[in-house]
Every structure is written in C-alpha cells, then in structure tokens.
Amino acid sequence: MDTPILSLLIFIPIVGAVVVYLLGRLRERLCEVASLTLTVVVLALSLYLYSSIFTSNQGASFTFIEGPYHWLGGFGVDYYLGVDGLSASLILISAFLSVLVVLGSWDLITEKKPIYYFLILLFEGSIIGVFCSLNLILFYVFWEIVLIPMFFFIGVWGGPRRKYAAMKFLIFTYVGSVIMLLGFILIYLFTAPNTFNIPELVGKIPFWVQLLATVATFVGFGVKLPVVPFHTWLPDAHVEAPAPISVFLAGLLLKMGGYGFIRVNLGLLADASRQYAWVFIIFGILTMFYGALVAMIQRDLKRMIALTSINHMGFVLLGSFAGISASTAQGAIYGISGAIFQMFNHAAAIGILFMLSGYIHEQAGTRNIDELKGLRSGMPKTALTLILGSLAGMSVPMYSSFLSEWMVILSAISVNTWYALAVLIPLLTVAYFLWMIKRTVLSPLPQHTHYHDLPNRAMFALLLYLVPLFLLLVFPSLILGVVDPLSSALFQAVGGGG
C-alpha cells in the first residue's frame, strides 16, 4: 500500500474545491479552468484504478484498501476505504460525468460561479467517498454530505419553484437516510462482532436482523433510486435544477441507491434479499411501468426525461434482485452485472438528454414539447443530438443500454417466466420518445421563428456522453470483466448454484 489512491480521489476534489473557490474570487474564468483540470486529474486517477482492477481481474474482492483507522473510537466508526468491481465502475462514471458536467456548466451557469464550482467538486469528492467507504457510518457521513451541495444547487441555481423543490428533495432524502441509519445501527447492535465495517459483517448478520434492516434500507435506498412510491421528489428536483445538476442528480445521485442495494442488501443482507427478492422485483417492475406511463403524457421535456430515469432505474432494482434469487450462476451474472451495467449506461444516456434539455431551454426559451417546433430545420445540430440521445434513452440496439436491459430481463425470466412482461416497458419508452421527436424535431418550423443552434464545442461535449455507449456495445467485457466476478461472488455467498 503505497499511495492512498482512494483518499486522493476523495480529497483532491474536496480540498481542490476550496482552491477553486479562492481562484474564482480572483477571476471567474480561472475557477472554470481549474475545476476542469481537477476533474480531469480525478478521471485519470480513476481510470488508473479501474484498469488495474480490470487487468488483475480483482473485481470480486476489495483492493486498494486503506484502514481501518479508528476515527470515533469505541463505536466502531472507522476510516476504512476499498474498492471492488462495483465501486470502481461507479467511481469511473462519477469522474467521467464530473468532467462533462463542468464542461457543460461553462455554457449554462452564469451566476455565482466560484461557489458553484466549489460545490461541484465537493459533490464529486463526497460521492466518490460514498462509493468506496467500507464502514457503514463513514458511508452514511459521505451520503449526507452529498445532500448539501445538491440542496444548494437546486435552491440557488434552480428554476422558478426552486425553493419548494429543494425542500422537498431535502426532506425526502433526509428522512430516507435517517431510516437507513437506523437500519445500520440495528445491524451494529445485533451482530456478533459489533462493527460497522462491511467486510467483517459479511455473512454474520442474523436473519431477523437482516429482515428488519432490509425494510430500513429499502426506504433509504429506495428514495434515492427511486422506487415508486418514494419517487415524487425526483421530477420536481430535476425540473428545477439547472441542466448540469440534473446530470449529477440522475447520473450519480440515483446511483447511490443502486449502489446501496447491491452493496448492502445483496452483500450484507443477502439471505433476506434472496428470500424476499420477489417483493423487490415487483417494486422494480412497478417502478418501470409507472415511470414510463407517466412520462408519456408530460409536456415539459425535462420532466419527461426525469421520469424516464425512474423507468430506467427500475431495471437496476429488477436486475439486482432477480440476480440474487436466480437458480444458476449464469442467471445471477446476467442480473447483477446487468444491473451495474445498466447504471453505467443510464448515467451516460440520461446525461446527454438532460444537458440537451438545458441547451434547448436556453436556445428556444421553452422546454414545452408542444411549443418546440421544427427543430430539424431550426436547429439541425441540436435535433441530431436529440435524436441520437433519445435512441440511447430508448435502448435501441445501437447502444450498450440495450445489452444491459436484456441481460436484466433475461435474468428475471430465468427466475419466473412472467417477469418477461418487463419487455413491454421498452416498448412504452420507445412510444413516448418517438412521439416527443415527432412533435419537436419532425414538425414544420413556425414562421418567424429563429433558433440559435448548438455551438460546435457543446455538441462535441454532448457526443462524448455517447462514446462509452458505443464502445461498450462492441466491447461489453470492458465493464463486465470487472463486475462479473463480483456478481458470481455475491451469488455464491448466499449459497446459490449449489
């Protein structure tokens, strides 16, 4: 253990945030460039982290471990970090999105720049912290820190109803996380070694504790993911948040829920998860259907995209729990790896869509689907990007999101054939995306309407989101190579596959 890479990943952005703020007070341009530099450095580090796990085939176990160092002695709160395939891939996508969000913010954020970039970096650092904490309380601490920048993002840079949205967001996620914390305390109290350290807890938690803790974490992670009916903060938060922040919200914040489900529920509460997987699966399918159905009738482009997120994240829930309750290792790999893969794909696909909604709002002055007309003629570059992005949202087989969705559905079918009905969800998704495109892109341009088109640089930055989606379609093993060992390890841990 030479360089504490994980600590660097967490604290380069957090400490850098202060520097960026100070630089920003000198000259605003400076803080934009500095935060881009910092996020690129973090991306490089996380790529290194990822590739070393990929090449050494270490996805199943924790590596790059730091600690445990006692922090609040006596109560089992340690500073304890480590990554496996799941963490590494989520850290990678966090670093990747942070770069793109900073780039996108250059165009779209004009006010209070120093503090904005300060918060961006604080967010990045703390969310990486969430993804590599191996101590439940440390995890909780980072989890809560993430909320702070997000609250201010919505409340300060948000749209007209920002105060309502920010409060709603805070109350929902806060209540969720407190319930989650209760679950953690319960685990601590009733497990033979009283500890919050995840690796030491694996396989030690009594079944009834697992069951109670599952209820608690279901609320905690379910609010984040989100699971219907805990989702109602999401459309408001997304609609009010500025576009780059929506990317953070959908691309990363929701992933905390997925991460939590896989790390805690599948890893620690595995027996309960396996036994009651069907509850989660039903909630997953319900979430997907509900998200798709209500997305269909939205008039606000951004709200539609936000609800698409709910629709897509249901796959994560479905995949994880179908995987853990599968009867074969193959089924488990399809489900759990598919869920992680889906998180990755969703982050990229939803990212481009949210950024676009921001640009469209700026260029056309409205996000109302019925008022946006003739984009194909009025702003051809935007229209092209919107179509490419929507195809990613529809999971057409030219992007890797198709692969992850069918992996999840395949796993679900192997558990129970009736779960095959989940295939109907992409059908609804296609329907409402095409309808949106028909109304906005493929309509005649009203007279006397002049739109500004995307600047080339912005279009380039937007198309960057699609690069991983193309790449992973042709070379899915780039990510599956890291997460597959983890999936089969999780599966074997619950005694699956004999």
């Binding site: 209540v175 195809l391 087989p397 309808w435 028909k438 599956l480």
Partner: protein
C-alpha cells in the same frame, strides 16, 4: 479470404453509410455515386459467396464472460437471400439516383439506405438470434427514418386521402397521415412484434443456453425442457410475433400501407422487396429448427398451424383492401401484405405435412414466392415512382391513358403486373402455384379452407392488378393529362413523358428478370428445391430428391382465379364497358362493403381507439389520479407533518424543557453553575441532544447488556 466474405456483405454498406457524411463534404455527385458503389461492392461479395457455393461459418468473441459470440453463417438459405437483397438493393440505389435527384437532405437519405442494406444483410447472415435481433432493430430504425424522410409534413407528402380532398373518416377519425406520423406508427407497431420476439428468444435462451442456430438445431434438449414447463408453444408463437410485426401480417399489418408516405424508392426497397421479407426469412430460419424440436417431444405443430392461418387470413384481408385502393402505392402496399401472407402460408403448410421429406416442398414454395415477389414488386414500385413523378399525383384517378406516353414503363409494368397476377408463364405463376400446391399437401383438416382462401385471394389479386393497370394506362387521359393537353399544368407538362434512363433501366431489368425466371420456372424451382433440401439436411431432415411436378388441382385453382378476375377487371377498367362507381352505388350492400373495405375493416381505427387514446387516457388518469392527488400529497403531508412535528418540538423545548430548566435555575440560583451556563446561548438544544443521547445509550444497553461486560 472466403471467411471474410459474409462479413463484407453486411459491413461494407454500413461503412459506406458512416462515410456518407464525409463524402458529402467533397461533393454531392461523389456522395451519391460512392453510396451506390458501396451497395454494389456488397452485392459483388454476395455474388462471390454464391459462386464459391460453400457453407461458411465464422465467429468472433463478443461477450466472453457469458460465452456469447458474434458470427456469420453463410449457408444455402442465407446465400440465396443475401443475393436477392443485395442485387435488388443495388438496382434500387441506382434508381434513387434519378428518383431523388434535386431533393435536399440527400446525405441523410444515402446514409439510411446503406445503413439499411447493411442491417438487412446482418439479419440474413447472422448465425445467432441475438445478433439477428440487432439487425432486426437496425432495419426498423432505418425504416422509421426513411418513411419520415419528408419530415416537414407538407400535405403533398401525406399518405391516405385527407378529408378536405374527399377522404373518408372512420368513426370520426381521419384516415390520412403525415410522413412523420407514419414513420412513428411503423416503428411502434413493429416494436410490438419485436417485443414479443425478444421475450420469446430470451425465454428460449434460458432453456437452451445458446442463441446460435446450429447449436439450437444440434442440441434439441431445450425443446423438452420448454415443453415440460409448458412453454414450447408460447415461445415459438412469441418469436413468430416478431415476424408478424416486421412482415406486416395480421394483427400488426396496419403500419405498412401508411409506410407509403416515404419516398417511392424506399417503399420499393424496404417495404416491398427486403425488410418486410425479414419476417418470412426468420420463419424460414427457425421453422426447420422448431419442426425437429417439436418432433423430438411429440408436440403438436401448433406453430405451423398459426403461421399458415395468419398467412392465409392476411393474404385475403389485404387483397380485399387493395381492390378499393385509391393511391397507386397503397394498392401495391396492400398487395405486398397479401403476397407475404402467401409466403407465410406456404411455410406454415410446410410444417403441417404428413411426412418429413415433404417439408422441403412447402419450404421451397414460400421461398420461391419470396424471390419472385421481391423481383416483380420492386419493379412495380419503381415504375409507380416514375408514374407519380410524371403525373405529379399519387392517385390512380389522376392517371390514365399513359401507355402511349410512357411505353417502356407500360411494358415493364405489364410484365410485372402479370407476374403478380399469376399469368403463365411468368415467375409469379410458378411460385403462386407452388404455394397453392403446398397448401393441398398440408396434412390438416383445414387444408380445404386454407386452399379456398388462397384461391379467393388469387382472384382478388388478378382483379386489383388489372384494375391498377387499366386505370393507369388505359382509358381517357386522366385529369392531369387533360390539363397537360390544354397547357394548364405547367409542371405536368414538364414531366409528362418517359422517365429518365437511370430510372427505367432498373425496373425494366427486374420486369424482364421476372419473365426470364418464369420461362425457366420449373428449372428454377427444382434447383431451389434441391439446394434448400441440402440446407434442410443440415438440420436433420431426410432428403428426397424429386423432379419437378405440377399439382393439377393447384394449377386449376390458379387458372380459375385468372378466368374469373381477368374478364371482370378487363371489362371495367381496360375496355371500360362497365362503370365501377355505378355498380357500387347500385345497391346498399355493395356500398356498405365498399366503405368497410376502404376503412380497412375498421381495424386501423380500432387500434387507434384502444392503443393510442386508451393508453394516453390511462396514463393521464394515473398522473392526475395517483401521482398528483395521492403520491404528491403524501410528500406534502410528510412535509407538513415534519413542520408540525418540529413545532411540537419547539413547543416542548420552550415550555417543558425551558420551563424545567428555568424552574431548576430558579430554585438553585446560587448553587447551580450548570443551569446558568445552559441558560445562555443554545442551551435548550444542547440539553435536548444530551437527553436524546442518554435515551439512545440506555436503549442500547437494555437491549444488549453484553456491551457493559466488555
């Protein structure tokens, strides 16, 4: 080198598509010609495959962790199909040079045309179902993009007759659609089929652990595994659902007629010659596998029964609608749906035969009809495009008397139409005959009904084909022709005349090809039969080489159809001795039937009412009734509850805790430093935290006393 050939066949057009935007930077001519060149290169690779005449199976790793490979399989079936697709595509690409001349946005056009060809070849050459599904979705995407090519939706590009131009409403719903609407309709309707297909193939995979055709054929344990779960028949039907969607069979046939909103070259390529055949190809690919698998578990051949019935019914349904078509392209579109029904019928009948060796004849019949239909229908569509260009109208009623003006088009359309109508000795005669023969061979009690349906369809086919021919080329010059004569219509004057060579050459070539194939009909059929039998042998079928034989009953049926349909159509539309409008208006019943047919049996309207309006209102009910009124309120209630809670806390704080402290302080003014310190600043909060902390620790200790002992 040979290994690479099948890869080239599908990759070359895709590369060509991706390069199109770059070529466009060089110049428009360069872009157009290079696009055609790429499709030619692909066609040449396909021809080389045909010449080398060996089975090539080449694979590469795709997702190693779950043992998934990508691969191409060039065997007799896929090589023949690949050549049909490649060469017809190439001719249509050449035709496009003339047809699309002067249109804006041609980069997009060429991109999607080549991208389409590549994906279609991917379907044909895939060695596994999953990869096939990729191509399957790819062609769907191209179809969507090309139907909506004129996305600005000007009225002249609409399909169907708008109400203000005398169109009819069915249940208050206009039956005319804009290109972008038609594209969306096509994509979503076929997506319904695709979803069924995806469900089916995923369930299949969970039992077979493989997507590969050869593996599925070799290890048929999956069939018993599926059968014991009661899923064998559902799975096969679900997979057939994909074919139904793509090939526009009942009940998913409604998208194809409206897909005619696209440019005619697109209709020729995608919606007549190739993509809509993908469903037939799929059935041909998996049919033999299902047949052997079902035999292994003694399952009822319900799959083939379904295929045959869907085919026969669709053939009849669409043919009746073609009879009343007003637009030339729509007549051809209904006819395509109907003819594909024939192919499905033949493939279904193949699986219903009494003994295994007879499977090949139905199989060949379906495939033969696919081939001959691809040739003459592509020709008909391209000729129709030339007619629409010349007349500036899509309506049959605006045409008429054109045989003198456009002699070459007349000649090739005559050949191709006669082939469609099944006039001997054209290719359509032989292939339709083979289809009818295969129905007679089917070992099912319903065979006579199926046969009667297909003969009735043949009659209708003859009727509407010559109706179209008569309306276009015979009789008085149509509205536009007259205007032309009086110099009223300058645009028409400019156009009215034979199409340019780059346009008529492709469709004449195909029309002549249909004649040549017809003249060599028995020979073509026998050699096709033999090579497909060879292919089936690979899938474990016993081969019984047989010479060509004519099924007399089938020929009788087909000639009877001709004998009834042709004179009727001739006297109304060619000789114009009878007036169709008078006949229809003469009786209430005929009038009602006419409207019923024109409104597409009201199926289209029914689907809109249920799946569009119904779904949207359901979504709205969910949104208003659940999201806004219940779940959102729940959120707000949580918020108000927490406000009330914190107010209560505040009250508790101020009156109870504070009061307690104050009281304490009052009593212990002189003794208690603690109280005085707490009174300042944020005392209440500290105390509250402290109190809560004590309570938590107490709870912990009570619940888990062992902590004390450590």
């Amino acid at each position: 080198m040979n290994e690479a050939l099948p890869w080239l066949v599908w990759l070359l057009p895709i590369i060509g598509a991706l390069l199109t935007p770059i070529f466009a930077k060089i110049g428009d001519k360069v872009r157009d010609y290079l696009a055609v060149l790429f499709s030619l290169a692909s066609a040449v690779s396909a021809a080389l495959l045909l010449l080398s005449n060996e089975v090539i199976h080449s694979t590469v790793e795709w997702i190693p962790s779950i043992g998934l490979q990508a691969g191409v399989l060039a065997d007799q079936l896929s090589i023949i199909m690949a050549n049909i697709v490649a060469w017809i595509s190439f001719l249509i690409m050449v035709y496009s040079l003339g047809y699309m001349k002067g249109e804006p946005n041609l980069t997009r056009y060429w991109f999607f045309m080549n991208f389409f060809i590549g994906n279609m070849q991917l379907i044909v050459l895939s060695d596994n179902l999953l990869q096939l599904f990729f191509g399957w979705e790819g062609v769907g995407l191209c179809s969507y993009a090309l139907i909506g090519f004129w996305h600005t939706d000007e009225k002249k590009y609409w399909v169907g007759t708008p109400v203000e131009e005398g169109g009819r409403r069915a249940w208050g719903r206009e039956q005319a659609y804009s290109p972008s609407h038609a594209g969306m309709k096509a994509f979503i309707t076929t997506r319904v089929g695709d979803s069924a297909f995806l469900i089916g193939l995923l369930i299949l995979y969970t039992h077979s652990k493989t997507f590969s055709f050869t593996q599925l054929a070799e290890h048929t344990e999956w069939a018993s595994s599926l059968a014991s779960a009661g899923l064998l028949i559902p799975v096969t039907i679900l997979i057939f659902g994909g074919a139904i969607g793509k090939s526009a069979q009942f009940p998913l046939q409604e998208w194809l007629p409206d897909a005619m909103a696209g440019p005619t070259a697109v209709s020729a390529l995608i919606h007549a010659a190739t993509m809509v055949k993908a469903g037939v190809f799929l059935v041909a690919r998996i049919g033999p596998i299902f047949y052997t698998a079902a035999q292994a578990v003694n399952a009822a051949p319900l799959f083939f029964e379904a295929v045959a019935w869907v085919g026969a019914f669709t053939a009849f349904l669409a043919a009746t609608q073609a009879v009343v078509g007003r637009e030339i392209k729509k007549v051809l579109a209904y006819s395509t749906v109907s003819q594909i029904g024939y192919m499905m019928l033949a493939l279904g009948a193949a699986g219903l035969v009494a003994e295994e060796t007879a499977f090949a004849s139905g199989f060949t019949a379906g495939f033969f009809h696919l081939m001959s239909h691809a040739v003459f229908k592509a020709s008909l569509f391209m000729a129709a495009g030339a007619l629409i260009h010349a007349c500036g109208s899509k309506y049959l009623s605006d045409m008429g008397g054109l045989r003198k003006v456009m002699p070459i088009t007349f000649f090739s359309m005559l050949l191709a139409s006669a082939s469609l109508a099944g006039v001997p000795p054209l290719s359509g005669f032989w292939s339709k005959d083979a289809v009818l023969a295969s129905v007679l061979e089917a070992h099912t009690p319903y065979a006579p009904i199926l046969f009667a349906l297909s003969v009735a369809t043949a009659m209708l086919t003859v009727f509407y084909t010559f109706r179209m021919l008569g309306l276009v080329f015979f009789g008085e010059k149509g509205k536009l022709g007259l205007e032309h004569k009086h110099g009223l219509h300058e645009e028409a004057e400019h156009h009215l005349g034979e199409a340019p060579k780059v346009m008529w050459l492709p469709y004449t070539i195909l029309a002549v090809a249909s004649l040549v194939i017809g003249l060599a009909g028995p020979f073509v059929e026998t050699s096709l039969h033999n090579s497909l039998e060879h292919y089936l042998h690979e899938y474990g079928f016993e081969a019984a080489h047989k010479g060509f034989e004519l099924n007399l009953a089938a020929v009788g049926g087909s000639l009877a159809a001709l004998a009834v349909g042709l004179p009727l159509s001739y006297s109304i539309y060619i000789a114009r001795r009878l007036d169709a409008a008078k006949i229809v208006n003469s009786s209430k019943l005929l009038r009602a039937i006419y409207i019923f047919l024109e409104n597409r049996w009201y199926l289209n309207t029914l689907y809109y009412a249920i799946f569009v309006d119904g779904l949207l209102s359901f979504a709205r009910i969910i949104w208003r009734g659940l999201e806004v009124s219940v779940i959102d309120r729940l959120g707000d209630a949580t918020a108000s509850a927490s406000i009330i809670f914190s107010k209560a806390g505040n009250w508790f704080d101020r009156y109870i805790v504070d009061g307690f402290i104050n009281g304490l302080a009052y009593i212990n003014v002189r003794f208690s430093r603690l109280a005085r310190i707490l009174q300042t600043g944020v005392s209440q909060n500290y105390l509250l935290v402290f109190a809560v902390g004590v309570i938590v620790v107490l709870i912990i200790l009570v619940l888990n006393p062992s902590l004390l002992l450590r």
